[in-house]
Symmetry: C2
Subunit: 151 residues, 2 copies
């Protein structure tokens, strides 16, 4: 369901491109899918399936999940496990890795290019090509580090 940065699938360049990919795989273009794809091409933030569902009240949540997983198989979108709680979704192939503060929840989108040296170093030391998108880094931001309160 996810692939290391080094071999992510090509991002879909446009709504039509995504719909084309969907059609080519044997999928049908329904109004739900159309709406969801449009959503991903205009969304500013990464949202959970439930949040996306709330924006599309005429579409059942099970349909939301089924569409999302279909889109994901086609590389149109990808999901990110941010800390505890539900996964969030965004367009596939986005060249940034989220880094989150577990205390305040603030998320930095860090260019993957910036993190590649770290990824290489980890790979050399452990043999594992880490995927910083699917399971992103998290910790405490400067602001929250001075806070004493527990997480």
């Amino acid at each position: 369901m996810t692939t290391p940065a080094s071999e992510r699938s090509e991002p879909t360049a446009s709504i039509d491109d995504a719909l084309r990919r969907l059609r080519q795989s044997g999928g049908r273009i329904t109004s739900a899918k159309q709406a969801l794809i449009e959503f991903f091409f205009t969304a500013e933030a990464m949202l959970t399936a439930e949040q996306i569902g709330a924006l599309h009240p005429d579409v059942d949540n099970s349909t939301i999940y089924r569409c999302l997983s279909q889109f994901e198989e086609l590389g149109i979108i990808e999901h990110v496990h941010m800390g505890h709680g539900a996964a969030v979704y965004r367009r596939g192939g986005t060249p940034t890795a989220p880094i989150t503060c577990v205390v305040c929840g603030r998320t930095e989108q860090t260019p993957i290019s910036l993190l590649l040296p770290l990824v290489s170093a980890i790979e050399e030391e452990t043999g594992i090509d880490v995927d910083l998108v699917h399971f992103p880094l998290s910790g405490r931001c400067i602001r929250c580090r001075s806070d004493v309160r527990a997480i």
Copy 2:
């Protein structure tokens, strides 16, 4: 519930040490807690709450969860979110960070000291002191990278 590597609580050195910490916090020593603490001082692998519960059939799962969270507040244990699925638990203050292959599930325990330069680099770039224990790195190991099959 978790703290960056730079300020993790002192690990408990022995079963008695852990029980002492428990008592000092106002907790009572019950047979369930005794058994669980003993478990953590002899366990070789990190297990989920459910797996730990299966090893203690006389203890209800809700009690398992309550004990685990009490132990965690005292720094006796810590939990790790390994990929999808349930969290796994281990003794607190362990000086290694797990790195997991999402394909085969194999986990390397990497010395935190080895990862500190990376943590520093990320902190310099993002201002976030990443916690590689609570939300560990994951990716694909060499063996699985040659595999074509999807995750």
